[in-house]
Structure formats: C-alpha cells, structure tokens
Assembly symmetry: C2
Homo-oligomer: 296 residues x 2
Amino acid sequence: MDIKKYLEEKKWIIDSFLESYFSAPITPGKFRDCMVYSLTARGKRIRPILCLAAYEACGGKADDIVPYSSALEFIHTYSLIHDDLPAMDNDDLRRNKPTSHKVFGEGMAILAGDALLTEAFYVLSNNMPSTFRVPHSALLRVIREVAMAAGAHGMVGGQAQDLLSEGSEADAETLLFIHRHKTAAIITASVRTGGILANGSDDELQRFTRYGENIGLAFQVIDDILDVEGRTALIGKTVGADAKKRKMTYPRLYGIEKSREMAEELIHNAVESLSIFDKKAEPLREIAMYLLKRRS
Amino acid sequence: MDIKKYLEEKKWIIDSFLESYFSAPITPGKFRDCMVYSLTARGKRIRPILCLAAYEACGGKADDIVPYSSALEFIHTYSLIHDDLPAMDNDDLRRNKPTSHKVFGEGMAILAGDALLTEAFYVLSNNMPSTFRVPHSALLRVIREVAMAAGAHGMVGGQAQDLLSEGSEADAETLLFIHRHKTAAIITASVRTGGILANGSDDELQRFTRYGENIGLAFQVIDDILDVEGRTALIGKTVGADAKKRKMTYPRLYGIEKSREMAEELIHNAVESLSIFDKKAEPLREIAMYLLKRRS
C-alpha cells in the first residue's frame, strides 16, 4: 500500500474537521484566534490517524469517528502550547511558526491550552448526528482512558518529571519514565480509542496497547535523534534545543547509533504485536515503519 | 433548617473525598504535592455542595454522587491555580496560603492545573463501585455540560475576556459577559449536574439553570464587593487587588450600594426560580440567602 497517500488522505480529513471546528464566532475574538492558530498549524495528525487506523483494523469505517479521533489532536495541541511556555521548555518556534505565547502572550496561550483540553472532552462526550452511534458505554470508556493517559498518571506526569529532571544527570530509568508517560501514554490511548469505538475484543485491545507503547517510545527516541541530527527548517523547531537545556535524551544517554538500534527494535515489536490482525491492519504496520524513516 | 451545619457537613464529605483522592503514590512526588496543596486548601466547596443539594432537591441521596460532585472542585481548583499565575492575575495569596506557583514554581503550577482539569473528566466518566449506578447517558450529558461550561464557551472564555479587559474602561456589557462566563457558567453546571444525575425533569433542569445563573452572578458581585470592603485575613487573598490592576468590577461600575442591591435582587430571583420544588430544595434556597450574607 501507499502509506504516504494514506497519511495524506487521513490528514486531510482531520484537518478539515479541525479547521471548521471553531468557525462559529467565539468571544473574545482574539482568544478564538489563539486557539485556531495552534490547532490549524501544520501537524502530522499522527494521533487521530492512529485512532482511525485502529478503528479500520477492527473493521470500522474511518469516516464514522472523525470527531472522536480529532479530540486526540485537541489534547496534543494543548500539550504543545503549554510545553512551549517560558516556565516549561521555553520554545519560540513550533511547526515553523512562532509559538502561541510569542504571538498572543502567555496568558492567552495558557487559556487556549486549557480550552482545547476541555473541548476534547466535550467532543468525546457528544453523540454525533450521523447515522452511526457509538454505544454510551464505549464513549465513557474512551473518556476514562484518554483522561488517564493525558493526566497526572500519564502525559502531564511525564512532563512534570521532565521539567524536574532538567539540568540533572540522565539516568535510564527516569528517561524511560518520561517518554512512557509524556509520549507513549497518549499514543497508546489513541490506538486503543479506535479499538474501543470499534468494539474490539480484549485481545485486540491488548495488542493495540503493545503496539502503542512501542511506537510511542520509538517516536520519542526518533524525536531525540532528530533534535541532534535534523535541520531546523525540516523539523520546524529549534534544533539542538534539548542539548542547550541539558535535557535528558536517548542520544545523550546511549549515543546516536545505539538510539537508532533501539528505535528499530521498538518498531519491530510494534509490528509483531499486530500479528492477529488481517490486512485491514496494514496501515498500522506501515505507519510504524514510516515513523522509523521520518526525517521531520 | 441550620444552613451552616448543612454546609459544614457537606464540606466535610467533599473534603474527605478530595483529601484521600491522591493518597496512592504518584511520580514525581513533588508534582503530587503540588496538586494536593491546592486541592486540600481550605475552600468552601460551594460547587460540589450545590450539586449535592440539587441532587437532593430531586429526591436523591447525596452520598451516592460524592465523587461526581467533587469533580467540580477539581475544575474550580485548576481554574484558581491558573488564574493566579503571573501571566494572569498574578496573585501571591489564595485561601490564606501562598499561591501554587509561589511554592512550586510556575511550570509545576501550570501542570498541576492541567492534571486537575483532566482528572475531573476521569472522575466523571468512572462508574462507581457502589450499589448506585447512574445511567451512562446521564454521565455523558454531565460531561458534555461541564465541558461546555468550563471551556472556551464558558469559564475559560470569561477569563480570556477578563484578561483582555484589564486596564481598559469598564462597560456594563463586558462586565456581565465576564461574570456570566467566568463564574456563573460552572456554578449553573454544578446545579444542573445534580439534577441530571437525579434524572430531573426538563422543567426542573430549567429551574436549576435560572437558579445557577442568578446565584452565579450574585456570587461574583459579592466577591467584587468583598475585594473592596473585606479584610485580607478573612477572604484569604490580597484585598484591593482588583482596583490595583484596574480590573472591571461591579463596585467600580455601579458603586457599592447599587452593587449590593443588585446582589439582593439576583438572590431573590434565584430563590423564586425554585418555586416548583418542595422542602427538599430548602438547602438550595438557604444557600442562596447565605451567599448574600457571606463576609469571606
């Protein structure tokens, strides 16, 4: 299959949803602009796409759950806005654009993040007007799992550890904790969300967990490598920023070569974990392999 | 009835839930401390109590929905932490204690707020192990309404307008917008949450909406008056802070006397709107009157 075409098509569907989401007027207008600015920045939309691909792997039709999958991008976008703040990673550039607080000020950026996080749960709790109706129990389970993966026991906890670890010596256990929580948890939840919405079996959901944990970790390892190797123009944020802040990274702990080997093994495990699925899971397999090759 | 005793009893129940909520270890420990610090600060717990009282007004037994009602305090607490940040209201004192960012730093404070907001939706999506089971459809509706009231179209939108209006001349329309969104929306949602969980009728829910909007607005008017009149020791934050920042307030726009009259009329309307309820709604009526008399 042509994975690049698949990703482009799905990204287009997600982008359309996100771009039209805040089309009704919101007061104050500047606040709306601030949310839309980050939400419509050129992102890969990898979390919603993973959700759609998992839904398809279980026999679903992706069009049915576009809003639910997009809620994951609301959460991702909020996390980027808050992570970029001066009190956190203090980044001026994101996806080749000035970060939210550079354009709208810190207060607006904090509030835009808060609102996007909140909106994700609004979207997830909303039964859609289309013919397709997800059972209420499945929606509640999705909300529960997404909240768990995004909150103190997941993404935010990982970011807190990351923040507290800055400037200290890297150790492998802490690094693994950070990446598992900060990155892998919400990626795993994204894949599982697709599975839950498609009424996947326990075995299928467990496979998605293993897949998500492996690509989630690989994703972060590759991010770390790109921060060292990449060019600013390509990855759209300041290269070398991690080293400047003495942030713990895989390359810093293991070196580039070993880090790349680890990423390869993680991707291998991810693909392996999908063995029970038929060709409908081909996009999930291809996405894993695609992540390994990405240069931005 | 003895409303002070009622409030104390209910506050005790909510406090117990909140204090035990993060009793299991969370990594990093400093991050857990930061969340617990704000969550267990001496608050009035008025939003959860309103939820419980509305639930009782519709014939429910308050003990059944303590976690759901407490989720509203998670949201309130997160909003206080973020509102106090230097990029927002820049307050050093809250509930007689140094604000979160003064103790734990800005980064931790932002993350603690994020995590508490997220945790609210985790709690609301969780069916309890007790005998009592709220229908899934009611839980989803609660999540939807709470998210709407807390997000861009509610509380956060109000705070955004408040932030953008600082230093400008007060006008009545903007002031009403701010208070309706920043304060009244989530108070209304708190009352309605109790009604929805008790399977209240459409008419009952509409009454709760009117009640909530009126006490919500009154609550803010009284807050503004206390900021001018109160003593720091009593209200637990820096008195006169609003004036110093040239924030729009009711006293600034209408004067103290007229502001007090407005608060009285709002409370009168709130009590009036409960006319269809029997004596089980007495706590809601008494709470409205109690708010008018509060000195802190």
